[in-house]
Each structure stands twice: as structure tokens, then as C-alpha cells.
């Protein structure tokens, strides 16, 4: 992880750590904080705790997003302080709706100049963000809104498994990781498990990202904690609740970063500090899929 972040994330980059509630690479976010990257533009539909931590860590100057909060719990204090009071430094924001953000990645991934959607009518969002623009259909059948492509310098996704080439498979919520990865210049994949290429080839429908576009594969079990990995570990909702108190105050936020990020040398130390019991408590019961027969066509 240290090498991947050092080599592929550069000061001033636009970085997207995607994953909708599911598969959020906290391990990569923490490594970016530890390496004291600066002036990043962070893109993500739901900034979640990871961007609150990264912004508290001072890595970002700008945030591109569509829903800002600690889902089901409350607010993100570090981000709110920077928006509401400009303390300790102002944070530039660029705001869309979910569909707008998904459309931006889609346009970025497909090399299109914009993505058209039926949203934003009679909303104040295009006033707040003039990059959301009303356009006339070239076929004379009405107006839609357009959003510009988003092409991150780096997209980071967490996944259940990949092979050494970076061929990556996911099950459970898919969010917009595929779109964000194809839109990016560089892609880092962080996985629970490294598998043989034969495992990938035995179930090709599950592949969301081909190794062709992947620059680094990092094996980091439990690297998505406190978010979750379908079938492997549950969301650590207790931590999401705890964060509400931590993030309310700049001093407690910084103390948390010191204890859980700066003073640790990586994910292994984080897991040791968390404790085996806490991790074991997140293990779900089993619900395997049925298997399908792809057929042998020699």
C-alpha cells in the first residue's frame, strides 16, 4: 500500500475513492493521510467518514460530491467546519446529485463531452453549480440537463478479489466503481484476497474491472473497515456512531488521527489495535450463491 500510494497519488491530483457504503478503501485513505499528500481534489458520491478523516488530515483543497453525511447517524464535522467557518482552511466544493455524479463518471469512462439526464429542473442546484447546464435536445424533443465528464487522476477501489494482473471481481453493491475506474488515468485496486487467474476466468460475469486498466493491486484484508465487504465482514456501525462524537470537535478529530493513522505504520497495526474480537464480531453468517454452468465449448 505504501508503494502504491507513493507512486500513483501525487500532490494536486483528483482522487476518487469510490464504493457506495460497501467496499470503501479506508486503508488507502489512511495511507494518503500518513504520506501527507496535499492539495488533492477528492471526488466521491458520499464523502462518508473516510473523506472527513482525509480532509481533517489536510490532504484536500476541494471536494466534489453529491451527499455529505454520516449515513443514518449525522454530520461530518471536519468537512462542515471547513465549509461553514473556513477553519482551519476554506474548502472548495463542487456539488451534484447522485445521478449527476454517476453520469459524470460515465461520460469520463466513455470519452463523451457530457452526460444528459432528466434531473435539476426547477432546482437551485444549477444556480449553485454552473457546471450543471440546461441543453436542448438536438432532436427537438425537449430540454435536459448536462453534466461534464469527471476523469480522476487516480481511482481507488476495494474489492473481494483480484488476480495478480488486477482482474477484479466484486459482488454485492456495485455503486459506480466500474465507471470511476474506467474514467481514471490510474487505478489502484485493493483486495481482500489475491486469487489465481483461473478463479477469475471460471466466473467472468463477476469481473467489474479488467487488469488492463489497473496500475497496482494491493492485498489488504479488512482494508475496508469500518465499511464492509459483502460476505466477508459487516459494516462496523458502532464506529460510525462513535465518529459522530469524535468529529464534532477539531481536537478530538486530530487526536483520533494521531492514534489511528499517524502513529500506526499500516493496516496491520490498525487491525492489531482494533483487536481480533471486534473483527470477529463483524463476521456474517453464510449465504452462498448457487453456481452456474458456463459450458465447455471446445
Amino acid at each position: 500500500m505504501r508503494d502504491a500510494i507513493a507512486d500513483l497519488v501525487r500532490d494536486g491530483d483528483t482522487v476518487a475513492i469510490e464504493g457506495f457504503t460497501h467496499l470503501i478503501s479506508f486503508a488507502a485513505g489512511h495511507e494518503i493521510i500518513r504520506q501527507r499528500k496535499r492539495d488533492l481534489t477528492l471526488a466521491r458520491l458520499t464523502p462518508d467518514l473516510i473523506y472527513d478523516q482525509m480532509i481533517a488530515g489536510g490532504v484536500a483543497r476541494k471536494l466534489i460530491f453529491s451527499w455529505l453525511g454520516n449515513p443514518g447517524v449525522g454530520g461530518l464535522g471536519a468537512i462542515r467546519r471547513r465549509i461553514e467557518t473556513g477553519e482551519p482552511a476554506p474548502l472548495e466544493i463542487e456539488e451534484y446529485s447522485h445521478f449527476g455524479m454517476v453520469g459524470r463518471y460515465t461520460a469520463g469512462a466513455s470519452n463523451l463531452p457530457f452526460f444528459p439526464l432528466r434531473s435539476y429542473f426547477e432546482s437551485d442546484m444549477p444556480v449553485a453549480n454552473p457546471l450543471i447546464r440546461e441543453i436542448e435536445s438536438p432532436y427537438g424533443n425537449g430540454k435536459v440537463f448536462a453534466v461534464p465528464p469527471l476523469k480522476p487522476d487516480v481511482t481507488i477501489v476495494h474489492a473481494q478479489r483480484a488476480d495478480a494482473h488486477g482482474n477484479t471481481q466484486v459482488w454485492g453493491l456495485l455503486g459506480c466503481q466500474k465507471e470511476a475506474a474506467f474514467a481514471a488515468d490510474r487505478v489502484i485496486v485493493v483486495v481482500e484476497e489475491l486469487v489465481d487467474e483461473a478463479v477469475i476466468r471460471a466466473d467472468p460475469n463477476r469481473t467489474i474491472i479488467p487488469g488492463l486498466i489497473v496500475d497496482a493491486v494491493v492485498v489488504e484484508p479488512y482494508g475496508a473497515h469500518p465499511s464492509y465487504v459483502q460476505g466477508a465482514y459487516d459494516r462496523d456501525n458502532r464506529f460510525y456512531l462513535d465518529w459522530d462524537a469524535i468529529t464534532r470537535d477539531e481536537a478530538t478529530t486530530q487526536a483520533w488521527l494521531r492514534d489511528w493513522v499517524y502513529d500506526l505504520d499500516g493496516r496491520g497495526a490498525y487491525l492489531d489495535k482494533l483487536g481480533a474480537e471486534r473483527i470477529a464480531g463483524l463476521r456474517p453468517g453464510s449465504a452462498p450463491s448457487g453456481s452456474v454452468d458456463y459450458g465447455d465449448y471446445r
Binding site: 457504503t21 458520491l45 429542473f121
Partner: protein, 265 residues
């Protein structure tokens, strides 16, 4: 206090009444786009009572969810296991929502006005907000593309306001006539908000597109209604009393949907 509706309020909380009332409004509906928190409980209650065929759509990319526990977040793994389909968010928003398959979209609000326009973005000025709120998420496109919108929120003078600070999600704009014309001309699939369920009562929208109180929850009073709203509200000529939650509805909420009382205390 002659307008007080006599009832025993000891047996259930205001939040429980609100959830039950919202669930009952879903009778006969087929496809519902679910939000986190209160909508989540209401919709899951409806599926176990008045709308067993309801298909739950979650913006995280799930169609036909059968959550075995109350989802604690909008992307909880329990909405995946046993669902009909897990799709990318692109498919969810493009094909399911914008394609016109969603009958009811459930929204919450920090501020709402008499025409059902919703603010979830900021209190105060956008560039220098007094309070920064979460923003749209999927709400703006849900408000435009779901066939109708249900709102569930607690009533207070801070949230039911004459003028919202930011219009995140359009409702009936400045009134029904203009809203209907704009929706038709611009090809919106949705006809806008149809019901607002609060902790005090049930509001529908009249011919002018304005909220009208049609039902008071047991124990709630018109004084309370007026004290928690920023405009002179329209009240139906004969206001009904919302039937109290049944024993079975309360059992489902307390034992199956929210045993920890996270949302219903």
C-alpha cells in the same frame, strides 16, 4: 382545547404513529424508492402489512430487496442478500428511476414549504451557509422522475417554513397550475408530492398544489399544528383522526423493524 382529539397516547410514541401512518399510505403501491431512516422503517412495515407485493428499490443499486434486519444504512448488506437484482447505480438511476418504473419516491426534508418544495442542502446562504446539510443525494432526480412523492418528517416551525433557503428538490413549485404546466412541458414523469406524513398528522395536496391537513394523529391538536408551521395552514373542513397503530403494527416495529428503538423512541 376543544379541538383536542381524545385518545390514549401512552401506548405508542409519536414516531411510531408517524411510521404507521406513512406505511398505510403505501397500500396498493408496487415499486417504492426507499430512503434511509424513517422511510426505511415505514416501507418495510408496509411490505409486512398493507403492501406485501411492494418492491423495494434502494439507490445503492438494489431492486426487490427483502431485508432480514432493519437496514442501518442505505447500503446495508442485508438489502443485497435475497434481493431480486443488484445493479450498478447507473442502471438504477437510468433504467429504473428515469425509465419510469418507480411509483413512489420517499423523501425527507430539512425544510419544506406549503407547495412541497424541499431543501436538504443548506440553511442560510449557499456560499456561506449557517448550517451545511447533506445535499441532494438522489432526491432531486427522484422528485422529478418517481410517479409520486411521499414525504415523512417531524413537524417544527424551523422545518415547515414560508420560504425554503434552497430548493434542492422541486415539488409543486409556486402552485399546482404552474407545476403541472412545467412538468408536462419538460416531460417530467412524476406528478410531484402527494402526501406529507408528520408526527402530528397527514397532509395531502389540494387543487392549488398546497398542503392541506386531512388527518390529525390521536392526541395531536390544531394548536400544535399551527405552532409548528411557518404559514397559515389549510385545514380540511372535516379533519379525520388517524386510526391508532394496531397491536400488530406496533409488534412489527418493536420486535422486527426497530428493536433497538433507534428511530422510534
Amino acid at each position: 382545547m376543544s379541538e383536542t382529539v381524545p385518545a390514549s397516547t401512552a401506548a405508542f410514541s409519536k414516531s411510531e404513529m408517524m411510521i404507521v401512518a406513512a406505511a398505510r399510505e403505501l397500500a396498493g403501491q408496487r415499486v417504492c424508492f426507499v430512503g434511509v431512516g424513517l422511510p426505511n422503517i415505514a416501507v418495510n412495515l408496509a411490505k409486512r402489512t398493507v403492501a406485501p407485493d411492494l418492491e423495494l428499490v434502494y439507490e445503492a443499486g438494489v431492486f426487490g430487496a427483502e431485508p432480514a434486519r432493519l437496514p442501518l444504512s442505505i447500503g446495508d448488506p442485508t438489502i443485497v442478500t435475497g434481493s431480486i437484482a443488484v445493479v450498478s447505480m447507473y442502471e438504477l438511476f437510468s433504467f429504473y428511476l428515469q425509465g419510469g418504473l418507480v411509483d413512489v419516491g420517499f423523501l425527507g426534508a430539512a425544510q419544506i414549504d406549503r407547495f412541497g418544495n424541499i431543501n436538504t442542502t443548506v440553511i442560510g446562504d449557499y456560499a456561506h451557509p449557517k448550517t451545511r446539510l447533506p445535499g441532494s443525494g438522489g432526491a432531486c432526480e427522484i422528485a422529478i422522475n418517481a410517479r409520486q412523492i411521499f414525504v415523512i418528517m417531524r413537524q417544527s416551525a424551523r422545518s415547515f417554513v414560508e420560504r425554503i433557503d434552497f430548493r434542492t428538490s422541486p415539488g409543486n413549485l409556486g402552485g399546482a397550475e404552474k407545476a403541472e404546466r412545467i412538468r408536462r412541458e419538460q416531460g417530467w414523469l412524476g406528478r410531484g408530492p402527494s402526501v406529507v406524513v408528520t408526527d402530528l398528522g397527514i397532509w395531502h395536496f389540494d387543487e392549488n398544489g398546497e398542503m392541506r391537513l386531512d388527518s390529525l394523529h390521536p392526541g395531536a391538536t390544531l394548536e400544535e399544528i399551527r405552532a409548528t408551521i411557518g404559514w397559515e395552514p389549510r385545514i380540511a373542513s372535516s379533519v379525520a383522526v388517524t386510526p391508532a397503530p394496531s397491536g400488530e403494527e406496533l409488534r412489527l416495529i418493536r420486535q422486527e423493524l426497530d428493536p433497538g428503538g433507534t428511530y422510534t423512541k
